[in-house]
Amino acid sequence: MIRVESLHRHFGGFRAVDGASLTIKTGSITGLVGPNGAGKTTLFNVIAGALPPTSGRVLMEGEDITGLAPHQLFHKGLLRTFQIAHEFSSMSCRENLMMVPGGQTGEGLWASWFQRGRIAQEEAALLKKADEVLDFLTISHLKDEKAGNLSGGQKKLLELGRTMMVEARIVFLDEVGAGVNRTLLNTIGDAILRLNRERGYTFCMIEHDMEFIGRLCDPVIVMAEGRVLAEGSVEEIKANEAVIEAYLGTGLKNKDMVG
C-alpha cells in the first residue's frame, strides 16, 4: 500500500528522519515503535503531507505521492490522527465529526444558498453517523459540548472518531492509546480489527503500549535515530537485543523496594 524509499527529513542540521525505508502492506495493521524522538511522528508528517521531505520518496500503491498536500491525500483515502490532539476547539463534538466527510454539497457556497433541501438531507445522514461514532467512543453525552472542554483522553477519542466518519484506505494512528483508559483502548482495538477485517482498512500505528501492539499488529517496525532498526512479528521484536537496549528496556529496577 505504502512504500517509503530512503526518506530524509532534517531540521536545520538535525536528522529527524535519516534515510528510512519501509513498506506497509495492504490490509495489514503495521505497528511503528521506537524510542522517543526516533522520528516516528516526523515520518508520519512527511507521509501525510504535513511536512515536505528533505529527500526521498513516498509511494502509495505505486503512485508517487511525495509532497502532495494533506487534503489531496485525504481524498486519496489516506487519513491520520495527531499525537497531540488537534480538535476544533470552539466547535461541538458532533460538528467536529460532521465536518469530516469530503465532497459535501453544502460546502459549496452556491449550494449553500440554492440547494437547501439537498443539504438538509445530507446533514441528517451525517448527524446519524456522527452520533453513532460518538456512541461507540462512549462520549455521546458530550455531543454538544465544545471540543475544547474535553478531557485529555476524550480529545484523543474524538481524534480517532474523525477517521471513522469516512471510508478510508489507510489510516495512520499516532499514539491513539496514550491517555486513553485501557478498557476503552481494548474496545478501540476491537474496532480497529473489525475495520481492518470487514472493510479492508490498512492501519499503521505508532504506539508505546507493547501489549496493545502485540494484540493488533503484525508486522512491527522499530525505528531509532531516524532509521528502521528492525522489523518483524511482535515476538521477534521483543526478543531482539538491539530493540531491548534502545527501546524496551528490562523492566523496573526498584520495583521490590515499594509496597
Binding site: 515503535v33 522517543n36 478531557s151 483522553g153 483508559n181 485501557r182 523496594m257
Partner: protein, 250 residues
C-alpha cells in the same frame, strides 16, 4: 455513583494525611459540577495513584487540589493547614509541584530554561538537580539548547516531569506522566518516582498505564464520574476483578 467499596483513606483516628482534598465538589466556571464529593489523600513517603475512565474527573481533581478551580464545597489541607483558598502560586511556594496533563511545557523556551523555570522559587544552586534530571532523561541533555516546542511528544513529557522535579517539591502531583513515553523511559520514570517517594516526598499521580502504576502504588483511587468508586492499596485494586475488568483493561 457506583458503590463505595472501601472507606475513603482518611480515617479520623490515623494522623491526618500530608495532602488531602476532602469531599471536593465543583466544576469549571459556571458549568455543571465535575467533581461530586470526591476525596483524594496522600501520606508522606507514599505513592497514590488515581485511575478511572476518560472524563471521570481525574485531572479536574488534581487541578482542584492545586487551586486551579474554585470548589463549591469541600476543602484542601496541606500538612495540617487549610489551603482551600490559597492561589496556585501560593501553593507552589508551599512546596507543591504539579505536572499538568496538557500544555505542560514552555514551548518557545529551551529545555534548559524550562527546567530553570521549574526552580523559579529556589534560590540555591540548581546545577546538581539539573544534573540529576539529565541523568534520568539523557536525551534532554542533548537537546538542552533546543526549544521545547520542537521536541517529540515523549521528549516533551520528559521535560514536563523534569520541570516539576526541579522544584524540589514537598509533594509531587503528576497527571499522566508516562503518556507517550517509550517503555524504557517509563521504567526509568517509575524508578525515579519510587526513589523520590522514598525520600519521604508524597507522590500523587494519575495514570492510564494503570497496571504498572498500581504495582508501585501504596494507595489507589478509582474515580468514576467525579466520585470515588473504589479505594484501596495498589495490590487490592489490581486483585479486584471488577476493577480490573472495568478500568484496567482486563
Amino acid at each position: 455513583m457506583t458503590e463505595n467499596a472501601t472507606m475513603p483513606a482518611a480515617t479520623p483516628s490515623a494522623p491526618a494525611p500530608f495532602l488531602i482534598g476532602e469531599a471536593m465538589t465543583g466544576g469549571y466556571g459556571r458549568g455543571a459540577d465535575i467533581l461530586q464529593g470526591c476525596t483524594i489523600a496522600v501520606e508522606r513517603g507514599e505513592i497514590a495513584v488515581i485511575v478511572g475512565p476518560n472524563g471521570a474527573g481525574k485531572s479536574t481533581a488534581m487541578k482542584a487540589l492545586f487551586g486551579m478551580l474554585t470548589l463549591r464545597t469541600g476543602r484542601v489541607v496541606l500538612d495540617g493547614e487549610d489551603i482551600t483558598t490559597l492561589s496556585p502560586q501560593a501553593r507552589v511556594a508551599k512546596g507543591m509541584g504539579f505536572v499538568p496533563q496538557t500544555r505542560n511545557i514552555f514551548p518557545s523556551m529551551t529545555v534548559e530554561e524550562n527546567l530553570e523555570m521549574g526552580a523559579f522559587l529556589r534560590r540555591d544552586d540548581l546545577r546538581a538537580t539539573m544534573e540529576q534530571i539529565y541523568g534520568l532523561f539523557p536525551i534532554l541533555r542533548d537537546k538542552r539548547r533546543q526549544a521545547a516546542g520542537e521536541l517529540s511528544g515523549g521528549q516533551r513529557q520528559q521535560v514536563a516531569v523534569g520541570r516539576a522535579l526541579m522544584t524540589k517539591p514537598s509533594v509531587l502531583m503528576l497527571d499522566e506522566p508516562t503518556a507517550g513515553v517509550s517503555p524504557i523511559v517509563m521504567d526509568e520514570l517509575f524508578d525515579r518516582i519510587i526513589e523520590v517517594s522514598r525520600t519521604g516526598i508524597p507522590i500523587l499521580m494519575v495514570e492510564q498505564n494503570a497496571r504498572q502504576a498500581l504495582e508501585i502504588a501504596d494507595k489507589g483511587y478509582v474515580l468514576v464520574q467525579g466520585g470515588n468508586a473504589f479505594t484501596g492499596t495498589g495490590q487490592d485494586l489490581l486483585a479486584d476483578p471488577q476493577v480490573r475488568r472495568s478500568f484496567l483493561g482486563g
